[in-house]
Amino acid sequence: MIRVVLPPHLRTLAKVSGEVTLEVEGRVTQRSVLDAIEAQYPMLCGTIRDHVTKQRRPFLRFFACEEDLSHESPDAALPDAVASGAEPFLIVGAIAGG
C-alpha cells in the first residue's frame, strides 16, 4: 500500500482529506504511483502532470524521505520506505505567488 499526500487544492478537487492510499502493482516508481492516482481519482488527470507529455507540472514538486525527487526519472524506483508504506510520497505545491 502506497501513501500519498496531495496538495490542499487537489485534495479538494479529489474530494479527499488527509493522505490517500493506493495499491500499485509491480515496481513502485513515480510513473506507477501517478498512474494509480489518476486511475483512482480521474479528476486529477492533467493536474499533476501533462495529459500528453506526462511531464510534471512546473510548480509541483515530488518529495519523499526528506529528498527532492522531482528531477528523478519517472521510471526510477522510489525509496523502499515509500514502496512499503512506511513513508508517504509527497506532492507539494512550490512556493510561488499566492
Binding site: T12, M43, L44, F59, A96
Partner: protein, 392 residues
C-alpha cells in the same frame, strides 16, 4: 416575475448571486472552487441549470467544472469508473490537445513570440466558455494559446476547430500582455453556421460553416503598435459584443479605439467619439435597444484604471460616437480599479439590467439601463468575469 442569476468568476474562486426581478436583494453563494482562478463561468441558454466553469491555477493547470443544478453541485465531467479500454476511468474534461498536421504529424503552425521568433502553440488555460444556444451538451472553449475547442458531450471531451489556426495567418499572431488568448466567442442566433471569435493579439475572425473555415475580419482596424498599422492580422481586440436581435452589427473595444461593424465584421469604423479615452476592455449592448452600447473607459494601456480616479460607465444611445457618462452610485474619487474584458453583462428584463465587476472585487448592478448603480457585492477577490442568466 423572472429571477436573475449572476455568475462571477474571480482570482480566488467563483460566486453565484441570485435575486428576484426587482434586483434589490441578492443571495450570494460561494466561493466555489476556492483558491482557484475562475476565468469564466456561463450557463446554457437551452437549460439554465446547466453551467460550465473554467477553473485554473498555475500549479495544477486547467479544470473544467459542470453543474446540472444551477451551481448547487459541480462535477468534473469525463470522470467515473470503467470507461477506458483498460477499465480505468477517463478524466478528459481538461484535456485540450491541439491538432497536428495530417500530412506530417507536426504542429499545425507556429506563432510570433514576444521576441519576434516563431513559437509552437502551448495550452495554458481556458479563457471563455460559450454554451450552444440550443444544446446544453455542446459548448465552445476559447483557450490560451489561442484556439477554439468544442465539446458535444457536456465538456467530457474536447476537439479543436483547427481551421482557425490552420488557415495561414498563425505565424502573425502574437501574445498580448495577458497572453495569446481567444477570449470572445459569439454564436449568431440567426445562423447556426456563423461564429465570431476574437484573439489578443491577432484580431477578429468569422466562420460561416460552423467552424470548418475561418477568415480574418479586421478591415478598418488600425493599431499603432503594428509596423503596418492597418494590417489584416495582429490587432489586439479586447472584446466584441452583439445584440442577438441584430446579429450583423458588432461593437468592439479594441486595445485603443471603440469600433463598429454593420456588415458582420467585413469592415469596421471607429465610434469612439467623445469618450474621455478609448482604451478599455469591456463592451456590451443593451438587451432591447440595439443602438445602446456600454463601455468603461480606462486611462491607458500603461495605467489600467479609470481616468481621474472616477469609475464611469459610458453609454451611447446612438450606436457610438455620442457618449454620456453614467456615474450615479459609482465611486467618483480615488477609484483605481480595472474592469476586465469578460466582466460586463446585461439581463433581459423589461428594464434592462447592466452588471460589471472590478479588479477591486465589487460587482455593480443597474436595474435601469445604467442610470443608477449600486454594488451587489463589494469585497470579492478581483473579478475576472460576469455573466447573467434569466430564470423562470
Amino acid at each position: 416575475m423572472s429571477k436573475v442569476r449572476v455568475l462571477v468568476g474571480t482570482r480566488k474562486g467563483a460566486f453565484i448571486l441570485e435575486s428576484d426581478g426587482k434586483r434589490e436583494n441578492w443571495e450570494v453563494s460561494g466561493p466555489h472552487f476556492a483558491g482557484w482562478e475562475v476565468y469564466h463561468m456561463k450557463g446554457s441558454p437551452a437549460d439554465p441549470d446547466r453551467l460550465y466553469a473554467s477553473q485554473t491555477s498555475s500549479w495544477s493547470g486547467q479544470v473544467i467544472q459542470r453543474s446540472s443544478d444551477g451551481g448547487k453541485t459541480w462535477e468534473t465531467p469525463g470522470g467515473g469508473p470503467g470507461k477506458s479500454p483498460q477499465g480505468w476511468p477517463i478524466g478528459e474534461s481538461n484535456k485540450f490537445v491541439y491538432d497536428t498536421s495530417e500530412k506530417t504529424g507536426k504542429p499545425l503552425t507556429t506563432h510570433q513570440f514576444y521576441d519576434g521568433t516563431q513559437h509552437p502553440w502551448e495550452f495554458k488555460r481556458v479563457w471563455h466558455l460559450e454554451p450552444s444556444l440550443s444544446d446544453p451538451d455542446t459548448v465552445y472553449a476559447g483557450v490560451e494559446d489561442a484556439a477554439l475547442f468544442r465539446s458535444t458531450d457536456g465538456a467530457a471531451s474536447w476537439q479543436e476547430l483547427s481551421g482557425l489556426r490552420g488557415h495561414g495567418t498563425g505565424p502573425y499572431w502574437q501574445p498580448g500582455a495577458g497572453g495569446m488568448c481567444l477570449h470572445t466567442i459569439i454564436l449568431d442566433p440567426s445562423d447556426p453556421g456563423r461564429i465570431y471569435i476574437a484573439i489578443s493579439a491577432a484580431g477578429a475572425f468569422r466562420t460561416d460553416d460552423g467552424g470548418i473555415t475561418w477568415k480574418p475580419i479586421n478591415r478598418g482596424l488600425r493599431s499603432q503598435f503594428l509596423p503596418d498599422q492597418d494590417a489584416e492580422i495582429g490587432h489586439c481586440v479586447h472584446h466584441v459584443a452583439m445584440n442577438p436581435s441584430r446579429p450583423g452589427v458588432l461593437f468592439m473595444q479594441k486595445h485603443w479605439d471603440v469600433m463598429r461593424s454593420d456588415n458582420a465584421g467585413d469592415s469596421w469604423h471607429e465610434v469612439s467619439g467623445n469618450l474621455p479615452t478609448d482604451f478599455g476592455f469591456v463592451i456590451d449592448v443593451h438587451a432591447h435597444e440595439p443602438e445602446t452600447v456600454y463601455v468603461v473607459p480606462i486611462k491607458s494601456d500603461g495605467e489600467h484604471y479609470p481616468p481621474d480616479g472616477k469609475l464611469r460607465v459610458y453609454r451611447s444611445r446612438t450606436g457610438g460616437n455620442e457618449w454620456e457618462a453614467l456615474t450615479n452610485g459609482l465611486p467618483q474619487q480615488n477609484c483605481y480599479v480595472n474592469v476586465l474584458r469578460d466582466a460586463m453583462a446585461v439581463d433581459t428584463l423589461d428594464s434592462c439590467g447592466v452588471y460589471f465587476g472590478t479588479t477591486g472585487g465589487q460587482v455593480y448592478a443597474s436595474s435601469d439601463a445604467g442610470d443608477n448603480w449600486s454594488p451587489i457585492v463589494r469585497d470579492l477577490p478581483a473579478v475576472l468575469s460576469v455573466e447573467v442568466q434569466m430564470l423562470p
